[in-house]
Amino acid sequence: MNRIITRRGRLLGVALASVSLLSVAAASAGEISVWVWDANFNGNAMREAAAIYTADHPDVTINVDDTASQDDIRAKLQTQLLAGSTDGLPDIVLIQDDIAQKYLQSFPGAFEPLSDKIDMSLFASYKVAAATLDGTSYSVPFDSGVTGLFYRSDYLEAAGFTAADLENITWDKLVEIGTTVKEKTGHLLLDLDLNDTGVLRMMMQSAGEWYFNEDGSLNIVDNAPLKKALETYAKFYQADLVKPVSGWAEYTGAFTSGEVAMVPVGVWITATIKANADQSGLWGVAPIPRLDMEGSVNASNQGGSSWYVLASSDNKEESVDFLKTVWGGDVDFYQKILVNQGAVGSLLSAREGAAYKESDEFFGGAPVWQNFSTWLSQIPSVDYGVFTAEVDAAIQAQLPTIIQGGDIDAALEAINSQSQQQMQ
């Protein structure tokens, strides 16, 4: 009696084990996991793409994980690549352009080269350059972080200005406008986070400079745009036009709740702003102000990221095929994500699509996408280098002194020596 049961029991056990093994194998085949950080923006854009691809390829599932913040994703990626453990890594990950080189150079072989499978000339060259190391490109470029000055047109009107008053102005002029807006409407102009140097980098790039020279050496002390940017930053605080915030939630809360009047930021904020449908028609977009100096234009970049495929992925072919089919060739898809998420894609042919020419009701019926396309072509191109995070930290250390009217030259010296020290 016992022997029969144990034999049957063993057979059952083997059957169950093989079924579970097969199902595990089946589950991992054709299941692509993607890491993104902004549910409204890149999360939804990726979900759109996934829907298009899985409609044609029903055996593939694409899981979009947008629960982690960008800092968390950076830390997770770095930790796992450091440890050499590839278990928890996704198949596709979104990495911002200005830190991409850090990963490519620190972890050779961690990412799948894509330039031999996908034609990189289809994309904007400055985006491809950010992901290229030793002649090989590792990414499918996603969005451009072309910047605009998003403003509340109702507050502007109440203060007695029109949209034309914000065209092609300098930051100093914006300080004046902001002071009037505050007097007439009581609303502060901007919200700034002392731990985020995004606006400073935006100002610096509008004059064609970055923290580093061509050869990778530090460009801080003689960096006139950086000095002007810091001075402008100080002016905003001294004129008491700033709401101090800390962290992403407070930052977005300040303008989505209508507390501050304007936000100079990359076009990807559209998704966050449009998430408040009741504010339709109350927003407008102006060109980003320029620094009051020779060489600065009313166009700049903040952020912008690209899709990378991990070399450790089990589903490399499917991932590359997915990226190539949808992100590398579907012009209609790019029209959709433009209007819904504000994703200004880097696929050159997508710019010819219909959506890029239309006006947007949300922004008062203005042809915002055409404007962004125009500004995109004017962005001065810079080489981000690999030590941006270190210099950012050095600047953050000096910001409180600067905004209280401290000596900018002394601050630049301190930033230079700290960055120099960290770059060893």
């Binding site: 450091l82 620190s106 731990n195 800390s246 995070a389 270190e390 930290a393 250390a397 409180p400 060893q424």
Partner: protein, 298 residues
Amino acid sequence: MAQTRLDRRERINGWLFIAPALVLLGLFMVYPIVWSLWMSFQVGKGMNLSFGGFANIMRLTQDTVFQRALTNTFTFFIVQVPIMIVLALLFAVALNDATLKFRGLFRTAIFLPCVTSLIAYSTVFKSMFASDGVINQALMALHIISGPIAWFGDPFWAKIAIIIAITWRWTGYNMIFYLAALQNIDRSIYEAARIDGVPAWARFRYLTIPMLKPVILFTTVISTIGTLQLFDEVYNFTAGTGGPADSTLTLSLYIYNLTFKFMPSFGYSATVSWVIVLVVAILSFLQFLVARDRRRKP
């Protein structure tokens, strides 16, 4: 031959019993520690490491950020640990009073912060200390301040906010140790002192504290180690940046940045970790020295 075969067998058995634990300890604790010491002599970014001798130690001496982190960590240690120990002691003595009603409730209330989720409490504290948060509103309503304090926008106030948060969280933990130790003190000593006319504060100073000395030493050493390794609160409150102008940057957060935020420098972060080890060792030794029993020469 004092050793019998039974003795030897028992000894071998004992070693065999603890062998698995020793192996695991060696593999997961001792080996990584020795490896990190080896790492601290390596220089290079990312995975491109090479032997650098004392280069990392030289770098330590010139690193302004490291000096800032060290100063901050020491500031937290010097201000927060004494306040917390004293508070915990006072709470323990107050709650040890047999005639106090709702003692259990008070003890639970003071101990509860230790068991709350770290992220949950960080989020709540962060919103409480925001410019328009509850703390500012309360202080303004009580007319203690006229305008909102930018808690995490000002280097000084950011430190105060962190100290308040840590004290709130860990006072209960230390209080429990003192309560347990107080239970072991014989009541008759206090009765004798009361009969002799010793006032309450003197009873506390000359009776309670000396008798609690081993426990006070223990909690001080544990709190020192915990505060010198401070990371969680600082990371969560300032989103990993170390507060306005590096004012809340601690050594552990600096190590984290060196490894995960900046272009990774493992050798150098290992060196900074060993600095923490040395500082903790020195401070613990000093504390044991201060608390040792001094024999008076007759």
